[in-house]
Symmetry: none
Subunit: 201 residues, 4 copies
DNA sequence: CATGAATGAGCATTCATTCAT
DNA sequence: CATGAATGAATGCTCATTCAT
């Protein structure tokens, strides 16, 4: 444990609630999860949750923010050491799929809850999700600017296409709980399709 | 009363309930829709719904079955007159996107509720959705058998990839309510990516 | 079948509904029996019941009237051929217990529903039940007038005491479904207690 | 707040709910009593009832357990100071009838709801009621063993007979709300019948 | 008379949220 | 800060009753 864990016990409790919520939401979904279940999963009292979050909705939003930020940071860190648009795209695909192995609860949570929540929590724009989309878009843009990718496709559309494809495969991986080696082969196949499809000719 | 009123009065009421449910679910989502809202939307009494469906869950499942079957039939009909794998893929993409224009409620319903349903209505396997996936898979398989598509990709994976991509774009179209012409251009871009990515070399 | 069955088919249907209600009430009790179950048991449509009875409550009351009248008539007929207060009391006890054998549904219905209904169907005084009580009272009175029974007990109280005792034993018989021979021995024991207890000394 | 408030705050609320339920059930019967009425009678919120009882059925069963135990304890306490089988039987009868005076709601509840309950709450065997029956049986058995009572009657049957008689008279007392002095005379008459009927000769 | 589809008032139960301790 | 007992609004579903055919 780091020093922070002792100096900020409140932060620790907040984190435990988020962890509990993730586990519970992954297992039963947002609407079928009771606040008391999250509390029990986190090892705190029901009321304690309301010291850290305004409502169950707020907890969901905060969980998105927190976990998507983690995903984006991780992707940025990985990509920062990789050169070449094709290789960067490959790494992005691979990392997305690896969620199914490394963080199955998070994978389930994102694939299943993302759409519902961004639609029904009206005022919430889900900025972190948009950041993730932007990241995929910029992969395409970079490729176009470097002359590696065709110019007759809009990066904004392609970002969506790629995210949708990855997310759907992640869903498949999450539910079938496929072994690790599959991820490598799946990454190869999906990457090839997009790279060959995108390649400037 | 006309003859039609006598030939299927019950079916008519069942259909009105399904229509009402689709409209309500599209607007507020399954969990935020009250049974009484569906009833009022359908112009029937609350109790009437339970003459045609066992529960709110059963209504959701029935709606999936009914609408997915309609989508699949429509796709099959369209494709039956089209030759050439590339053109068939193009038509499939186009039809998927056109849902956003022609049946925006259905588009919203499918993009937002589909994933939840297969996860939380445990025993329900969503066979119609799997049929749709199979249809996309067979497009890839046909292309491989005819030597038009590369052989180093699994149709099963590609079906998912394509569905995910289409579904995500449909989501975008549905929420931004883009005008008709966008659909044509989007179809072209997405189709090109997949066809070029899939093409045997 | 008698002539009446053909000339009054409506009466036949009324009877079938009462039979169905008795069977259903015996099995599940008044409050747990749906009108539609009675209808199905009687082989009529739900709505038909309301052509013969004003409400579910009215059906219950009518069933009491009808069956209690039958019980009373039967008791009167039997007793009309019996002389001697002690023997008359014995026959009354025996007949009461025989309900468990001959008409188990009726026995269950009377033992379980009688109290509830006479209490909660406010304006209904359950006159037939009071008739039955009067019959038991008059057995005691007759015994007192003939000098066979002690005079220091009120017939009204004794009627209740005997009815309560019989009804409780009937309940036991009904639930345990004891064989026929028990009834004879039980009749002997119960009769002896009351006759010896009542005998003038 | 007093010490008592701290030593059993939960028990207190549970007791208030049971009291409210007894009052409500006595007034309108189990099936005609709404949970919200019980809550309001008890001065708690509707939901609070479900913190102490699993369901409305469970509340009914718990009420039986609780009140029958109280009745049995009371009877045992009273009888512990009484010698002689005849006098003991007299006290048992008297105590049963006194319920009508001292606890009219409880009397109404027991006489009206007891039979329903054991029949419709399927798995529930109503053990406390059987305890009460056993107590009456043992009065008869003791009398037989001491040579005071005749041996040609089964205690098990007599227990039922006595309970049925007492219960029916209690019902009469409860509904007619007779004054106190009646109870004494009624006790005398009923006791005499059973004692003279049971006496060994 | 008979039907049974339709009605809609009614109710047990849940669960997010609060607040006294 | 933390607790968890208490709250009470909210809702899916039932079923006695009606009425057009």
């Amino acid at each position: 444990m780091s020093q922070a864990d002792k100096s900020r016990p409140a932060t620790d409790k907040r984190e435990r609630i988020l962890d509990g919520a993730l586990k519970a939401f992954a297992r039963k979904g947002f609407y079928n999860t009771k606040v008391s279940e999250i509390a029990s999963e986190a090892g705190v009292a029901d009321g304690t949750i309301y010291l850290y979050f305004k409502s169950k909705d707020d907890l969901l939003i905060s969980l998105f923010e927190d976990r998507m930020e983690w995903v984006i940071d991780r992707l940025n860190t990985e990509l920062s050491t990789v050169a070449g648009v094709e290789e960067r795209l490959r790494r992005a695909v691979e990392l997305h799929f690896q969620l199914a192995i490394e963080e199955p609860d998070l994978a389930e949570f994102i694939t299943v809850e993302l759409r519902q929540s961004s639609k029904f929590m009206k005022e919430y724009k889900n900025p972190k999700f948009l950041d993730y989309l932007k990241l995929l878009e910029s992969l395409v843009e970079d490729g176009q600017e470097q002359g590696a990718f065709r110019l007759d496709v809009e990066p904004r559309l392609l970002g969506r296409v790629i995210f949708g494809a990855l997310d759907e495969v992640l869903l498949l991986l999450t539910f079938s709980r496929s072994p690790n080696r599959d991820v490598v082969e799946m990454t190869r196949q999906v990457t090839n399709i997009f790279i060959d499809g995108l390649r400037a000719r």
